[in-house]
């Protein structure tokens, strides 16, 4: 009986902390795109523009902590997230194609597990807000799936 209670408590704790037990891994993030990373959001690229009339991809700066799949240009990468004012689970539309995940807000310092493709222009056809001019030096990645990793 004690063992069962302990198991139940552990299960509750794991549930309460979301997917921390998996590091953000799920069936989507581990299969979509050609690249999969765990990365820390360093700079969300300024204030997000309103999304009541127009939807944008917003370019953000990350430090890669772990590369799970694929090859990257370096430890610092620039990633376009579609309509970042929306939770990932409800961001997809006709223009974006499949995007999703369980991140609800983009806050500098958060760690995300992401499925990516590159370059963004071959996968997303819409307005890009890019307040990080240094990103122009290399490829900008397109986020297909974005989960919390911690």
């Amino acid at each position: 009986m004690k063992a069962a209670s302990l198991m139940l408590a552990l299960a509750f704790l794991c549930g309460a902390c979301g997917q921390s037990n998996t590091g953000g891994a799920d069936a989507k993030v581990t299969t979509l795109g050609r690249i999969e990373v765990t990365a820390k959001l360093l700079d969300a690229g300024g204030e997000f523009p309103p999304n009541d009339l127009y939807d944008y991809a917003h370019i953000m700066k990350y430090e890669v902590l772990t590369t799970h799949r694929g090859m990257l240009d370096g430890k610092t990468i620039y990633v376009g997230h579609y309509n970042p004012l929306k939770p990932r689970a409800s961001a997809a539309d006709e223009r974006s194609g499949e995007v999703g995940g369980n991140v609800t807000r983009f806050i500098a310092g958060d760690v995300h597990r992401m499925a990516l493709v590159s370059p963004i222009d071959e996968h997303f056809m819409g307005a890009q807000v890019n307040k990080l001019p240094e990103s122009e030096k290399g490829a900008i990645y397109w986020a297909l799936w974005t989960n919390r990793a911690s």
Partner: protein, 341 residues
């Protein structure tokens, strides 16, 4: 005065009335200059395609389909075919994403013989080739040129940041569209159709470009920086510029309204646009009044527009006709059977 009153009577007989003599004269001038085709909310509560004379008379619903939403008609350069998008009933037409919505359809200019070219979502932002035998469309990986008869892709080229509203010049040498360019979104650009080289036409909050018949100038909407209204958001105006971006000029503006849907008559004597208090042109509701003016009367500023007049102190005071409500109008000098009038 008597002349103006007579004109007014004639126009009233055609179910359109203009209170101002100059408006009445313009309406008379426009009466037999072809047809305007546009999308609008119909009595059946869905969006259908309509035609009317450029003075607003003889308006009629040419699709009248309660089971679909239909929008964004574009006449082929020869004026003998219509290309538009047909959406599932109840779909909200998104002014920013309509090129991804629904299926592309070609039909006769009177709406007859509609033929779907692809499944919903197919051929995004499709528009006509100069000879009317192909369409160009935008996909994330490339601009595609599709032969209508065979549905085969004739050619692909990099889209160079263009993401919507792609239109081929009448002479076939250029494309114009709205895109990301040099770190700035919402830039109207021109692309050389052979080399793929791109130059900006207007940087910053500009969109919905359309060609002048001479393939040299481009008509577009622009919401300039530095406006005071709406906490700096401002109002969208209609502008034109040469394809290399030089010689940009205001065509029409009015504080309190966003001006979209700019299109020229095939002889470039007149300009069509919509005038909406809500940004985007009103496709999500019932559109906005379609307006027509003489290009020779540009620039025109209407209303009090104190802020706009301060930036453009020298303007003309030509007449502007406000016609039926709609969205994305286009103009043909042909008859509705596609034959020359």
């Amino acid at each position: 005065m008597r002349h103006g009153a007579s004109l007014l009577c004639i126009l009233l007989a055609n179910s359109v009335a203009f209170a101002d003599d100059r408006q009445a004269l313009l309406a008379t001038e426009l009466r037999s200059t072809g047809w305007i085709v546009f999308g609008a909310r119909a009595d059946n509560a869905t969006w259908d395609l309509f035609v009317m004379r450029p003075d607003g008379s003889d308006k009629r619903n040419i699709t009248n389909t309660a089971e679909f939403e239909e929008a964004a008609p574009r006449l082929s350069p020869g004026g003998n075919r219509l290309l538009y998008r047909r959406l599932a009933k109840g779909t909200k037409i998104d002014h920013d994403k309509w090129g991804f919505q629904g299926e592309p359809v070609v039909a006769m200019p009177d709406g007859s013989n509609p033929e779907s070219l692809a499944a919903p979502g197919g051929y995004p932002w499709a528009s006509w080739s100069p000879d009317g035998k192909a369409i160009i469309c935008l996909t994330p990986k490339a601009i595609q040129i599709i032969d209508i008869a065979s549905k085969q892709t004739i050619r692909e080229m990099p889209r160079k940041g263009i993401y919507q509203q792609l239109f081929w010049s009448p002479d076939g040498k250029w494309l114009t569209g709205t895109g990301n360019h040099q770190g700035e979104s919402w830039t109207v650009v021109r692309m050389n159709s052979e080399s793929g080289d791109v130059n900006p036409v207007h940087i910053f909050q500009s969109c919905t470009p359309d060609w002048f018949p001479d393939s040299q100038r481009i008509l577009y909407s622009s919401r300039p920086k530095g406006q005071k209204a709406k906490d700096g958001y401002g109002w969208t105006q209609l502008w034109s510029a040469n394809g290399d971006g030089s010689d940009s000029k205001l065509v029409f503006g009015e504080d309190g309204f966003h001006i979209y849907g700019g299109a020229l008559s095939p002889d470039a004597r007149y300009v069509l646009f919509t005038k909406c208090p809500v940004d985007g042109g009103g496709s999500e509701s019932a559109g906005a009044p379609i307006c027509v003016m003489r290009l020779a009367d540009a620039p025109i500023i209407q209303g009090e527009s104190m802020d706009l007049r301060a930036v453009h102190p020298i303007t003309n005071d030509g007449p502007v006709l406000e016609l039926s409500a709609g969205w994305e109008p286009c103009w043909t000098l042909n008859n509705l059977d596609g034959k020359k009038s």
